[in-house]
């Protein structure tokens, strides 16, 4: 069984390195500040004992006030998982750092989120629309699309 790591403990661990970067949202999920996402993710991937070497999914959710981006991380070595959330603010040009340099599985998923939700990931090597054609206006997965 993939053990779901306790978020409060991880948060405590990360707080020691990056104070103020993370907070707890639930037992298994932690919230990372958008600005320090890259550092926290690097920490989660490379710290012995955590070793989140496998990123399964990235999801973006439109909450009107902000976009929530959810990363599902798994460590194959220890068989444990963690949900990391972060938020992007603003509807015109929400931005977040990309994690492609850590996990290439983020490549197409970030492009998809850019395409459908309109969140730009800084540092992505190929930030283009993936499923829609380049001339398409708007981001259809947003809740206010065509309203």
């Amino acid at each position: 069984m993939t053990a779901s790591l306790s978020a409060p403990e991880i948060v405590k661990q990360i707080q020691a390195h990056y104070p103020g970067a993370v907070s707890v949202v639930s037992d298994s999920a932690l919230l990372v500040d958008g600005k320090s996402l890259a550092e926290v993710m690097t920490y989660l991937k490379n710290t012995p004992g955590l070793d989140f070497n496998y990123m399964t999914a990235i999801t973006a959710i439109d909450y009107f006030q902000h976009f929530e981006v959810v990363y599902n991380l798994v460590s194959m070595e220890h068989n444990h998982s963690l949900t990391v959330k972060t938020r992007a603010y603003g509807r015109d040009n929400p931005r977040l750092p990309s994690v492609v340099s850590l996990w290439r599985s983020a490549d197409y998923q970030e492009r998809e989120i850019y395409d459908l939700m309109g969140i730009t990931f800084d540092g992505h090597p190929n930030m283009k629309r993936i499923v829609l054609w380049p001339e398409f206006k708007g981001h259809p997965q947003r809740k206010d699309f065509l309203k």
Binding site: M1, T2, N53, Y54, M55, T56, A57, T59, A60, I61, D62, V70, N72, M76, N79, S81, T83, W103, R104, S105, D107, Y108, Q109, L116, R129, I130, V131, L132, W133, P140, Q141
Partner: protein, 367 residues
Amino acid sequence: MTLRTEPFVINMGPVHPSTHGVFRMRVTLDGEVVVNLEPVFGYLHRGIEKLAEERTYTGFVPLTDRLDYVSSMSNNFGYCLAVEKLAGIEVPERAEYIRVIMTELQRIAAHLVSIGSFFNDCGAYFTPFLYMFRERERVIDLFEMTCGQRLLYNYMRPGGVSQDLPDEFMPALNKLIPQLKKYFEEYENLLQNNEILAARARGVGILPKELAINIGASGPTLRGSGIRWDIRRADPYSIYNRFEFDIPVGEQGDCYDRYRVRMEEMKQSLRIVEQAAKQVPAGPVRSKVPHLIRPPVGEAYSHIEAPTGDLGFYLVSDGGIAPYRCHIRAPSLMNLTALRDMIVGWKVQDAILTFGSFAITMGEVDR
């Protein structure tokens, strides 16, 4: 003296015999050698994730059929698990067994299609393909018997399955199991020691271990690279921890390994079906679930081992009758991440073969 040559760009797809649907590879060729490759997606994008927000939780089940349309049962299963996790719905024992039997049969059927079309990409003129389809037909007959459909089953529901197995199902299944074993042997005789296949597929399109993990590959693609990672074992869902089965892995992650893993996996799936068929208890097949499921506010991520890989559903509920957000983690899409790295430097024919060895379904890639 050297001749001045220049590479030329060729669009393989979206309409091409071996792109498994409407995929496009913009390939730059230097003679026969691929020097660059850019995958282009989106020809089958139907916005299923967006459509989910307009459907009730139960009403979305038929749309999951349309994801990986050669393994609809698995998609149903993955989605229903996510809804059950979100809403805290219990599933009756009999339904669990039926689900496992159905998904494992589906895995056999899907792998048969994958292997068959892999050999077509390899240039075997339809013989393995038609042999595989002959047996797939038998499995599909069982599905038709159960839910009246042959491709898009729409069989599972949150809280169980839509209807009980008909009386003639179990005898038919028990008859099919030994026959399938015989047929698998027949495939091995036809394909295993084929020199041309070995020359074509061994060492071609290698996906190294580290890269496979890094790109989030899953399913036979990941296991072909030698990583023993199967959601059924690593994160058991439903009742998979009650069955005995092995996880076949490849050695170096080439096309041949991926094909072998699929072949072995079919045998393991048959083992699971065999065990499950013996243990199916009597009882209801669907728990009391209201017509309009209103899960509490919250979110749930649930994943299963679909034939293509780690199929995940991320559901967010706002307490209403429809998901606030439904994200589908499509294994086929992730498996394609390293396509360029694996193909560049090989010949056109290897490109087709490597692409075919992932056995992707465009319905799932584009959603």
